[in-house]
Amino acid sequence: MKILIKNGNIFDPTRNFNKISDIYISGNKIKKIGKNLKLPIKNLKIIDAKGKWVLPGLIDIHTHLREPGYEGKETIKTGTMAAAKGGITTICAMPNTNPTLDTVPVIEYLILKSEKEALVNVLPIGCITKKEEGKEITEIGSLVKAGIVAISDDGKPVSDSFIMYKVLEYTKTFNIPVISHSEDLNLVNGGVMNEGEISMRLGLPGIPSAAEEVMVARDIILAERTKGTLHIAHVSTKGSVNLIRDAKKRGVKITCETAPHYFTLTEEAALGYNTNAKINPPLRTKDDVKAIIEGLKDGTIDIIASDHAPHTKEEKNREFNFAPFGIIGLETELALTYQKLILEEKMDINFVLKKLITNPIKLINLKNRGIIKPEYFADIVIFDPNKKFIPKDNIASKSSNSPFLDWKLLGKVDTTIVNGKIVWDNDRFYY
């Protein structure tokens, strides 16, 4: 397919580039960029992007695709549809599937199945320990050869400090990040939401912010000692932001991410026993939200990721304590980020886009993607900053567990192109 995107406002955060220009795509690559490109009319799809933003496709380093094993919640197909609709052209799939992504055959299965069914690029993340049990490390080198881009026991912490210590050491050979789900389970102690005023009112067992911070502190110390590559997933507290900021100042090799809900919502979202606000780590206080935004502004927080965690209606429509943790996020990530950080907080557009594109690419060493430049893969998103949408009207994910379902969001993805092929355009998917 040959595509010409005309007169779009191009943002390329990696090169701090912003101008109105045309982009010509042929095959799976970007071929030309320039004003008033003159091209043969034959077999050319022309997209008028006047007044819209043209961006490299987003990279989401924290998605739960649920396949294999939990296809009732999500599949590779529906999960990647949600990604395409949200302007995300590459996702990293977390390994807490069933079976877990801890052996070469399972990784190969995921890659092959994705080649057949996925609408966007899928890159697997392998387990740190077998079955995420926290006991025995996986064959990390072989998994890297099979195609994983990082390791994580996401959903569970690596409670054994010795294992974390050695894994940060061992992975240096393979140049992949260790993504830490930082949570001290003894401090969590059966908690289901942030410990504080709201948990007290609702009578729900609380998770103190210390449960996250104690583990973040431990992992920083281990990363400092080993010089391994540590990435902290879903940072949610002020204390974690402070610990990471200090560590970076000392030169520790550490990056971290947060998710849109941690800079948009507080623990109050759980009032009325709203299980669509039951997330791990939990939604915190106003003070924490402020600190997360500060961390995003001063560069302490490198990456915004969705932590897309689909669960069925039946699983969520239960007693609060029994409902699973997690919300979907792929379809709302860009709009929430645009609304909150760019419009409300007035952060620079390319500075924010770096957290959705440039920094994720750096973290996982992704080659030839994420830059709008000839001979790069044509992963492109056309975003209309003036168009509104209500998430529940048209959910692509198989699940609908989101606290944002009824929100009126500003900033909608019109078109998503993956590897030179249109997969989402004007409210329609193309397979």
Binding site: E195, G196, E197, S199, M200, R201, L202, G203, L204, P205, G272, Y273, N317, R318, E319, F320, N321, F322
Partner: protein, 312 residues
């Protein structure tokens, strides 16, 4: 009548509605403490006691209240451990609804379970205690008992002693009493009296003797004996040493001080046996008043649902 289908919590119940319940309860109390115990406003109606946690007094109190209103009552008693494998709460609720029950009175170990049930069925739901959330009829009967002794509780000092963190009784008491202007002090081991309670406008103390100074009411909570195994306090004997309310402690207070306990009591643990049986104690009156309150709640909710035509 109460302009609502359910009674789930006192946090959002207005002062006016609370007064209405107390006034109605007063009338019922007069009736059933005389010779005629029945007032058949709910004749032909069906009430289910759905108890997922062991309870004798609350369940019997609701059952008697319902029967004195002429309703038919069935009891379903289950333990929470069977919830995980068994039928979901919503399915249980819908099944009972299909049997055309009018009220479901639920006790559950998980906070918010009554809210979930109420949202998913059209029958009236009454919370008979959920997790660490609320126990609204207990809060109402405690308020009723206090107001029976002290007409205007504005500015009066009410001390609640014990495991506040895990007490639905404490929370319903706080919400109800605050609406009538009482000053509340919470006291207990610091691990069981979280700072977050200050946001409800109460005082916190960890020293029993200091906390009960000038108290008009002392409401003593039952200590759950299993909390010590979770390292929230070291031992029962240490708890007794620091937090048992004794006659000796109370003797320095105004002779009209009222001693309350929601029951069942652990005598000689949170309360001295002798104190429980003195004239200061209103513990048995609380039990009597509980029936009156529950009759009032059932009756007033039934008026909203237009299922009772009998006027009091």
């Amino acid at each position: 009548m109460l302009e609502q289908k359910d009674l789930l919590e006192l946090e959002n119940l207005s002062k006016e509605n609370i007064e209405l319940i107390l006034d109605t309860a007063q009338k019922f109390k007069k009736l059933f403490t005389k010779s005629v115990k029945k007032f058949p406003a709910l004749k032909g109606k069906t009430i289910v006691n759905l108890f997922y946690e062991p309870s004798t007094r609350t369940r019997n109190s609701f059952e008697l209240a319902a029967k004195r209103l002429g309703a038919d009552v069935i009891n379903i008693v289950s333990n929470t451990s069977s919830i995980m494998k068994g039928e979901s709460l919503i399915d249980t609720g819908k099944t009972l609804e299909a049997m055309k029950v009018d009220f479901i009175i639920i006790r559950h170990s998980i906070s918010g379970a009554p809210n979930l049930l109420a949202k998913n069925i059209s029958a009236s739901v009454i919370n008979a205690g959920d997790g660490f959330h609320e126990h609204p009829t207990q809060g109402l009967l405690d308020l009723f008992t206090i107001k029976d002794k002290i007409k205007d509780i504005k500015g009066k000092k009410i001390v609640i002693v014990g495991d506040i963190a895990h007490s639905r009784v404490a929370k319903s008491n706080i919400f109800a009493l605050k609406k009538f202007g009482a000053n509340i002090t919470l006291v207990g081991p610091s691990t069981l009296v979280p700072e977050s309670f200050k946001t409800l406008g109460v005082e916190i103390d960890y020293d029993l003797k200091n906390a009960i100074k000038n108290a008009d009411v002392i409401n003593i909570l039952r200590i759950q004996l299993e909390r010590q195994t979770k390292n929230l306090f070291p031992s029962i004997s240490e708890y007794v040493k620091f937090y048992k309310v004794t006659e000796d402690l109370v003797s320095s207070l105004d002779s009209n001080v009222i001693i309350m306990h929601p029951g069942p009591m652990n005598r000689e643990i949170e309360i001295s046996s002798h104190l429980a049986d003195t004239k200061k104690s209103v513990i048995l009156e609380q039990v009597t008043n509980g029936i009156a309150i529950r009759m009032a709640v059932l009756y007033l909710l039934s008026l909203f649902k237009n299922i009772s035509k009998v006027s009091l």
